[in-house]
């Protein structure tokens, strides 16, 4: 049970909390700061020094001292139903709030349950700090009760992790984990906390979070590279700006928008880059890749100068490497040198902060590229490959229609979270995103079950007047549905739209296309009635089968002040198009199954 259980923060609490943050960064003698008497209080104090207001976790033996220290702290702890939920909630909180999310778990199963969520944050470069309890130091290595080599298990999925050695240094170690997590290319960090170290007495107060030595990220790119890149862009006839998730993380969306508009360069985003550029803008071609728009994939196939910003050229974006942007010189702007030429060779590598390097480029460029014909070509592709669908009022619901119904009923700043599968693709295709940090999803790892816990995390980070809508699939929802109990307990105003086709739909789509329609283990003969299940949890539930119920139910769910679930029974045969088959050329995207 959460000791600070209360309803979701109202406007007053938010502003108070912000004031505390501002103070925490300037003064140590803050009244509300936790006095340091032992390892645990040092840990909590380090989090307070980082401005942490919320933490997500699950109690348990080895982490109990840390939880006890939270009792007197102003940090609000949200008790999740499962540690995976805590990790996803912390991750999503971090995405929306632009600060590291905090996840707590005990040793052994608590820590291993976090693993999926940490791996997810790692793949999407999301800032997150995981704090895990550990058996006492003298028992480490003895296969003690609830012992797992947590730093060993999480080594490949964290930016760095630490095994806390003493109470005197534990606070600063947590501070380092916090600072490292959000610096440069963000990512998850973890500190493993043996119980005896948490209990150990100390009066060493941690300072402000500080980066470990030698970890300062690059900011400005090399002038010569920028100059060469500028010349390449100037002489391009078909320039294309590719905005990845790094643009949002670098808070460079505005700079990227200005850059595109000033130089008349069409824009595609990656899926994590959704929201970096308004999709209703004339220059925007939405997102490219496996289920990206036809026009984005045409543009990325035919460009002669691809300016990739904050993207790692993931295989779901590139399709087959041999046919990816095959005529393009590549300008690659990234803060992580190891992403340069990892998958796609960068002709002009620009290592630095996205916004800073775009400004450098703007300063260097003498004229915009002559791209009028190219812009017209992009518009032609928009007309040729519209994301249109038709509706038969007597047929089962089209999922696209439901996504658009929610988009129409909500404001532009609404936060959309999703699980993983067909519903995720429909949500990202048919919602018109215009703002950064409004699309929260599991991209790189593709974690089914991400939707509901991420909506919970997003809710705590969002402004009060922002709606939080979660699109989920029936299979995905069922994986973390227990977190509904948290949403009810915390009275969180979130709406879950389940696009229910009683299939693991994406698997079924692939089986139809590539496995002769043999629906092995993808067909659910029976799904729980999610509306009733929601009610059993204490949330509000609806079931919708028909078009004429959609608008009213969406309205009612959004109006409901608390967690609500709508179980939309959609056309079970609906598929996601366009689709670039795995490893196929982007330009050969299929518009229907026959074309795969």
């Amino acid at each position: 049970m959460s000791e600070t259980a209360k309803s979701h923060p109202d406007a007053d609490e938010e502003s108070t909390a912000e004031d505390t943050t501002a103070e925490a960064t300037t003064t140590e003698a803050d009244d509300s700061a936790t006095p340091v008497t032992d390892g645990s209080t040092a840990i909590v104090r380090a989090l307070e020094n980082g401005g942490v207001e919320h933490a997500f976790g699950v109690q348990g033996g080895a982490i109990m001292p840390v939880y006890d220290a939270l009792w007197d702290s102003d940090i609000e702890h949200i008790t999740m139903a499962h540690e995976q939920g805590a990790a996803h909630a912390a991750d999503a909180y971090g995405v929306v709030a632009n600060e590291p999310g905090i996840a707590l778990a005990t040793s052994g199963p608590g820590a291993t349950n976090l693993v999926t969520g940490i791996a997810d944050a790692n793949m999407d470069s999301d800032a997150m700090v995981a704090l895990t309890g550990q058996v006492p130091s003298d028992m480490v290595g003895s296969d003690a009760f609830q012992e797992t080599d947590t730093t060993g298990v999480t080594m490949p999925i964290t930016k760095h992790n630490w095994f806390a050695a003493s109470a005197d240094t534990i606070g600063d170690t947590v501070g380092e984990a916090f600072a490292l997590s959000e610096s440069g290319r963000p990512g998850p960090t973890l500190v493993d906390l043996p119980k005896d170290v948490s209990f150990e007495e100390t009066d060493v107060e941690p300072g402000e979070p500080e980066l470990p030595a030698g970890q300062e990220p690059p900011t400005e790119a090399d002038d010569e590279q920028v100059e060469a890149a500028a010349r390449a862009i100037e002489r391009a006839e078909k320039p294309l700006l590719l905005l990845g998730g790094g643009v949002i993380k670098a808070e460079a969306s505005e700079t990227a928008r200005t850059f595109a508009r000033e130089h008349g360069i069409p824009v595609v985003t990656t899926m994590p880059g959704i929201g970096s550029y308004p999709e209703d803008d004339e220059l925007c071609l939405s997102w490219a890749g496996m289920h990206g728009t036809g026009y984005a994939n045409m543009a990325i196939t035919h460009t002669d100068c691809l300016i990739g910003v904050g993207t790692r050229f993931d295989d779901r974006l590139t399709g087959g490497i041999d046919t990816f942007a095959p005529e393009a010189e590549v300008v690659h702007i990234d803060i992580d040198p190891a992403e340069i030429s990892k998958n796609i060779h960068a002709d002009y590598p620009c290592i630095g902060d996205a916004g800073t390097v775009l400004d450098q480029l703007t300063a260097e460029m003498e004229h915009e590229p002559d791209a009028r014909e190219w812009r017209e070509q992009c518009q032609t592709w928009k007309d040729e490959y519209p994301m249109d669908y038709s509706i038969d009022k007597d047929a089962p619901l089209r999922p696209e229609f439901i996504v658009e119904a929610f988009d129409e009923a909500t404001d532009d700043d609404t936060i959309v979270t999703s699980g993983v599968g067909q519903h995720q693709m429909w949500a990202s295709q048919y919602w018109e995103f215009t703002e950064p940090r409004t699309w929260v999803s599991s991209h790189g790892l593709g974690t089914m079950g991400y939707g509901l816990p991420s909506a919970i995390g997003a809710r705590f980070a969002a402004d009060d007047d922002q709606d939080v809508v979660c699109f989920d699939g029936d299979g995905s929802f069922l994986m973390t549905i227990q977190e509904l109990s948290v949403a009810v307990r915390e009275n969180l105003d979130i709406t879950v739209a389940v696009l229910n086709n009683e299939y693991v739909g994406m698997v079924r789509q692939w089986q139809d296309a590539f496995f002769e329609g043999r629906h092995m283990a993808s067909e659910y003969n029976w799904m729980p009635e999610f509306d009733k299940l929601a009610e059993a949890f204490g949330a509000k539930g609806w079931r919708v089968n028909d078009y004429d119920e959609v608008a009213d139910t969406v309205e009612a769910a959004l109006d409901y002040d608390g967690p609500s679930v709508i179980d939309f029974h959609i056309d079970p045969d609906a598929n996601v198009y366009p689709m670039v088959a795995s490893g196929a050329p982007n330009g050969k995207f299929a518009l229907s199954e026959e074309q795969l």
């Binding site: 046919t323 095959p326 796609i344 060779h345 139809d512 366009p578 330009g587 050969k588 229907s592 199954e593």
Partner: protein
């Protein structure tokens, strides 16, 4: 297939224009007519690391999960307390070697990474146990290769050899006639020649000897010639 005939409008794939260009598996644009994958090469990489628990596991794990081909790895202390030097031999096509260096440099305990190009000073130590039936001939071979006999018994003789890989391979060939029973090799370790730091920016423990020398390494890997001060100047202005 069932009812999945819904889809979107637009020209089908075969009616769309497709560019002729191609990239190779490294993502480099190529002439499709003369498509060629780059050859592998062997690189010697030196990494200066904080000698903290788990650092070896982090590096081994990195090479394993990213499928970098690692031939040998040696670790040992440096002049700076708390630091250690790792010497790695990696065999990869060109972009892979660069990628390995960049991924290494990303690890938090890794202070600096350099590739030993040109002709670094390198050596390996080998312990070799051979059949002791013909001690005089074994002794002759050992002397010829500058080795040292560490243990001689009625049945076996154990010798120590040091040197570069070629010399050691030659020596092993020569010992084969006696019957080699066991071998233990350290794997090569190396330092850059002359006053060039082995990893960029590396300084000895005594700070005074290398004040203000900021190197960006690699650019002048041949440090065999040239006085210290002149070279330092050149590097500072770089």
């Amino acid at each position: 297939m069932s009812e999945n005939t819904q889809g979107l409008q637009g020209p089908p794939p075969e009616e769309r224009p497709h560019p002729d260009g191609r990239r190779n598996s490294q993502g480099i644009r190529i002439d499709p007519e003369v498509e060629a994958e780059p050859d592998s090469r062997t690189a010697m990489i030196s990494a200066l690391v904080e000698h903290e628990p788990g650092v070896l596991a982090r590096i081994a794990g990195l090479f394993s999960r990213r499928q970098f081909n690692i031939e040998s790895l040696t670790v040992g202390p440096t002049t700076v307390e708390g630091n250690a030097r790792l010497t790695l031999i990696v065999e990869e096509p060109e972009p892979g070697i660069d990628q390995a260096k960049k991924q290494l440099a990303k690890l938090k305990p890794v202070i600096s990474v350099g590739e030993l190009e040109g002709r670094p000073v390198r050596s390996e130590l080998v312990l070799l146990k051979v059949n002791g039936d013909d001690p005089d001939k074994v002794q002759a071979v050992t002397e010829m290769y500058g080795g040292e006999t560490l243990d001689a018994g009625p049945e076996t003789i154990t010798v120590q050899l040091t040197g570069e890989a070629d010399e050691i391979e030659d020596a092993l060939d020569a010992y084969r006639q006696f019957g080699i029973i066991e071998i233990a090799r350290t794997g090569p370790t190396a330092l850059a020649r002359g006053s060039t730091p082995t990893t960029p920016g590396e300084k000895p423990a005594a700070e005074a000897t290398a004040v203000g020398v900021e190197t960006d390494g690699g650019s002048d890997s041949d440090g065999e010639t040239g006085g210290d001060s002149a070279e330092s100047q050149a590097e500072t202005t770089n």
